[in-house]
């Protein structure tokens, strides 16, 4: 049976420029979907358990009742088929939002994403474009074991023809979807599972965001912590710890992983002279490796220390908590890397 929720939906009204609206990242993502569905009849959502079940992470809860089964479509477990269908529908003039439950299942649709969505525009000489939005939950940290803990944003960011974004804040969870839908190209939105419960506020008066810029979330002077998505809050926490040691870390939220915002990255590194890249992908061949290479190519002479990376250990993520915690980037490891590039050692 479907029991109506006793609590009123939070954050239902758009910001009117007065008090900042309190909401969770999950609520913000839901509001983004609602706004898109309401403003454009071409928009529809499809994916596994997005309707009746309310979404694996409860992002789409209530949307089926509000928008009906034609626009909120539950699909069978057929990732390749429904992602491909999304591509076709987008080419044909609709604005589908495909939800792949998690990035772990996206592998079943990798052929459609790479060989069709990313490639059709170029291959057709520009005749065909694919304005498809794919949303995926990503990341690890909940002891879901090896097959359910991937962070493959870096892999997808390797593919020309795709745009990859990672909302790490409430504002971005709310408004990146709108910008993605406005893009004529396929956009993949990665939502880290740890962020769904995050509580915060929507910036008053904010009506949209761009998806081309990296943003400095915390200005600093001594080093740049460059990161995205689920690692953003870890970097902010690390910056707080570093400040107690007199180290002012600048935290840069990449936001867009493809294309990377070189201008903002280099401006930060030229200002601080030192960079630590924090990326939940496995270390070798990671997105962090690409950022480090670009820094060396473009800001080599401004560096006072070799750039450092904090990534996931190169193991399939294990189930037990102590092993999983040891494998993933942590606030402690970020602080250690930061003091390392400053040539200091922590005591104790």
């Amino acid at each position: 049976m479907i029991q109506p929720s006793a609590a009123a939906p939070t954050g239902a009204a758009p910001a009117d420029g007065t008090a900042p609206l309190a909401m969770t990242y999950r609520d913000a993502a839901r509001e983004g979907l609602r706004a898109a569905l309401m403003s454009d009849q071409r928009v529809f959502l499809m994916g596994e358990d997005v309707g009746r079940y309310g979404g694996c992470y409860a992002v789409t809860k209530g949307l089926l009742a509000e928008f009906g089964p034609e626009r909120i479509r539950d699909t069978p477990l057929s990732e390749s088929a429904f992602v491909g269908a999304g591509i076709g529908a987008a080419i044909a003039g609709l604005r589908p939002i495909v939800e792949i439950m998690t990035v772990n299942f996206s592998l079943l649709a990798l052929d459609q994403i790479l060989n069709n969505a990313a490639t059709l525009c170029h291959m057709s000489g520009g005749q065909v474009n694919v304005p498809l939005v794919i949303r995926m939950a990503t990341g690890a940290g909940r002891q879901l074991a090896a097959q359910h803990s991937h962070s493959l944003e870096g892999w997808y960011a390797h593919i020309p023809g795709l745009r990859i974004v990672a909302p790490g804040t409430i504002d971005d969870a709310r408004f990146m979807l709108g910008a993605a839908l406005a893009s004529p190209d396929p956009v993949l939105i990665f939502e880290h599972i740890f962020l769904y419960n995050m509580e915060g506020h929507l910036t008053p008066g904010l009506q949209k965001v761009d998806i081309d810029r990296a943003i400095v979330r915390r200005p600093g002077r001594d080093l740049s912590l460059i990161t995205y998505g689920g690692s953003l809050h870890k970097c902010l926490a690390a910056a707080g710890q570093l400040a107690t040691q007199g180290i002012e870390a600048e935290v840069l939220d990449l936001r867009t992983l493809r294309p990377l915002d070189d201008a903002v990255i280099m401006a930060s590194v030229r200002h601080t002279r030192r960079a630590v890249i924090v990326d939940e992908g496995w270390r070798s061949g990671s997105l962090a490796a690409e950022v480090v290479t670009r820094i060396l190519e473009q800001a080599f002479y401004d560096l006072d220390a070799p750039p450092a990376r904090v990534c996931t250990a190169e193991v399939p993520l294990p189930y037990p908590k102590h092993l999983e915690d040891a494998a993933l980037p942590s606030v402690a490891r970020i602080v250690e890397a930061a003091t390392g590039v400053l040539g200091r050692r922590e005591s104790g």
């Binding site: 049976m1 069978p76 909940r142 190169e314 189930y319 908590k321 494998a327």
Partner: protein
């Protein structure tokens, strides 16, 4: 639905099968509590209601046969004979677990019992099963491969590719589809146009049969026939075992997609109640027999919890061990 009459119901046989199902039921129920107490973490998928499928099918297998399963695998593992201690320790994430604690509930592996997982990706095990069967055939072994999957997997491309391949190459796979009517929160009526899964398999040239998954004897009978068929080299078989899961898809499930009335109706014809009622009607067991089995199986579950509690954690220094195969000792 066809109903295979297996061996006649005797007291010993009935009690044996009932014990096997109660072991699973009590194990699963204890897991609910342990999960709520944060002893088991991650995702937990329980098979309450589907015990007859696990017990009945695996009765038909021999030790050399291979089993490939899904994330809803505790019942399969217990029925196969994996140590309950090692299973519980695995759920706790301890080093004494069957997978060294590394996999948890969704990734049970026990090479000694030819139990090869445990897969978190729906449909992910079917190609593996085809591979095992291919090796068995090429090496002219007597063994067959049993592959468990759910109704949800039927929607994945892997299912169709594997039906075709197994038929084309005449492989000794016994495909065991546990149709519990729901793929997570999506009822099969909303995911499949052709609801008859056995018919789909036949369309690919795979022998198929629909079975009452709540009747452990019916399941056993059908499984024996299917396994014999595959073992004789007559090609793959699919059994569509119609069953129902009494609990949610996983622990965190508000079950907004189905009625409580429906769940209660199925619970009344569950596998344990079905067998118990039948045996009592035939005068083969009493309520005391039943309570005795309950006590024994719950005690066994309790012992496994104690084993798991006191088992050690894998040392951090071993995090990167087994990324690659080590030389055999």
């Amino acid at each position: 639905m066809s109903r295979e009459l297996g061996s006649p119901v005797t007291r010993n046989r009935g009690l044996e099968l009932l014990r096997a199902m109660l072991r699973i039921r009590n194990f699963e129920d204890r897991c609910v509590q342990l999960y709520g107490d944060l002893k088991i973490r991650g995702f937990l998928h329980l098979c309450n209601g589907e015990e007859a499928v696990a017990v009945g099918t695996i009765q038909a297998l021999e030790p050399a046969d291979v089993i490939v399963s899904t994330y809803r695998e505790h019942g399969h593992a217990l029925a196969r004979g994996l140590a309950m201690d090692g299973l519980m320790a695995e759920l706790f994430g301890k080093q004494s677990g069957v997978s060294g604690g590394r996999g948890g509930s969704m990734h049970i592996f026990d090479a000694a019992h030819r139990f090869y997982g445990g897969n978190a990706i729906v449909g992910g095990g079917l190609p593996l099963a085809v591979g095992f069967a291919l090796a068995q055939k090429l090496q002219q072994q007597r063994a067959v491969t049993a592959c468990f999957f759910g109704d949800g997997a039927v929607a994945e491309g892997e299912f169709h590719e594997c039906m075709n391949l197994a038929a084309l190459w005449g492989l000794p796979v016994v495909f065991l589809c546990e149709n519990n009517l729901y793929a997570m929160g999506t009822a099969i009526t909303r995911a499949e146009f052709q609801l008859d899964i056995a018919a789909k398999a036949r369309a690919y040239g795979v022998e198929a049969q629909t079975v009452d998954g709540m009747d452990v004897f019916a399941v056993e009978g059908a499984a024996r026939a299917a396994v014999d068929h595959a073992r004789e080299g007559a090609g793959p078989v699919l059994l569509e075992l119609r069953t129902y899961r009494f609990r949610g898809h996983s622990m965190f499930d508000a079950q907004l997609y189905r009625d409580k009335a429906e769940i209660e109706a199925w619970q009344k014809k569950g596998p344990i109640i079905t067998l118990t009622t039948r045996m009592k009607e035939l005068g083969l067991m009493t309520e005391d027999d039943y309570q005795e089995l309950e006590r024994e199986t719950r005690a066994e579950v309790e012992r496994s919890v104690q084993f798991a509690e006191s088992a050690p954690w894998e040392p951090l220094a071993d995090l990167e061990r087994y990324v690659y195969a080590e030389r055999s000792r």
